[in-house]
């Protein structure tokens, strides 16, 4: 409960740091810094999380792991809905995303919401990268505190 508050606050400070930080940087640059921090965190985190778990059968199995175990660890709930086109695109719906849940219910602050999703996009990309899946992760929000993350797997 309380350790969760620390995580929320540190994330909040990270966001406000990149957007109000000393040197003037563009929105894109700031978003990419957050994404990068998320990536570094996710890459290391999954290493520790998967210590005891067995091998994953396939890509879908990995996605299910992200939606359940990883999400519960980081965001205290499971992803509410996972969809895929079976061609490497996965869409994860979270109806009550942790970083948005203290913020608003509806359209208030909608324009700034993407700033609070960038870290998570990176976190997911980092986890997947360490599990051997190269991908691009984007996020979308139309109504807080719900949002969706789209994972596009890059086949090499």
């Amino acid at each position: 409960m309380a350790e969760e508050a620390m995580f929320d606050f540190i994330h909040m400070e990270a966001v406000s740091y990149v957007f109000q930080g000393g040197e003037k940087i563009s929105e894109d640059e700031a978003i990419s810094k957050l994404e990068h921090m998320g990536f570094a965190t996710g890459y290391r985190l999954v290493e520790r999380l998967t210590r005891e778990s067995g091998r994953y059968k396939d890509e879908l199995d990995i996605m299910k792991y992200i939606c359940k175990d990883l999400w519960v660890t980081v965001y205290k709930k499971q992803i509410d809905n996972l969809r895929t086109n079976h061609q490497g695109v996965y869409v994860l719906h979270d109806n009550r995303f942790r970083f948005l849940s203290h913020m608003a219910a509806g359209k208030q602050y909608l324009q700034y919401a993407p700033r609070y999703l960038a870290f998570t996009c990176g976190l997911v990309r980092g986890c997947l990268a360490n599990l051997g899946v190269t991908c691009v992760v984007t996020a979308e929000v139309t109504q807080l505190p719900a949002c969706k993350f789209q994972i596009q797997v890059q086949r090499g």
Partner: protein
């Protein structure tokens, strides 16, 4: 989606690690952004200060022992100065720095400096101006992590009536 049981992992431990790793990524980003390690130390302290000012209300609204609650470890308090205006917060283990090893080029980095900021911010909200700084750090080979807290003054103007 079916609600199956989680894989065996101590969720409490892992969520502590999550915080530790996130903090690590933040410090790494700061090191990249600033050339000077002192600037990083300052920035970390400032972030802690911002957190402390908000965290104190969370703590008071629920009334629980703070360090234990927010970091998962209980520090000991000691080494009071003769004047009684200075003391140390000693952590046997520092969960924030659990996976950290300082590289040679940033030995001047006070890695957990955010903690000093949190203490300063939280005290200021209860009308105490304090200074808080690290005097021992396990990352630098010390046996314990020790933060020294010095009372500067009561913020008289800010004291709410009836709270002397």
């Amino acid at each position: 989606m079916s609600r199956q049981s989680m894989r065996a992992n101590d969720p409490k431990k892992v969520s502590g690690e999550l915080f530790t790793l996130t903090y690590g990524s933040l410090v790494a980003q700061l090191l990249k952004d600033y050339e000077n390690v002192d600037d990083v130390n300052r920035q970390l302290e400032r972030m802690g200060y911002n957190i402390g000012m908000r965290l104190i209300e969370d703590f008071l609204a629920r009334a629980n022992p703070a360090f234990k609650l927010y970091l998962g470890v209980s520090p000991s308090i000691g080494s009071w100065s003769p004047g009684g205006d200075e003391f140390s917060v000693v952590l046997e283990t520092n969960p924030m720095a659990e996976f950290v090893e300082l590289p040679d080029h940033c030995l001047g980095l006070r890695y957990s400096n955010i903690m000093a900021g949190v203490i300063r911010g939280a005290c200021e909200m209860v009308q105490l101006e304090v200074m808080a700084w690290f005097i021992a750090d396990q990352l630098k080979g010390d046996n314990v992590t020790e933060i020294r807290v010095k009372f500067v003054k009561r913020l008289e103007d800010a004291i709410p009536a009836g709270e002397d």
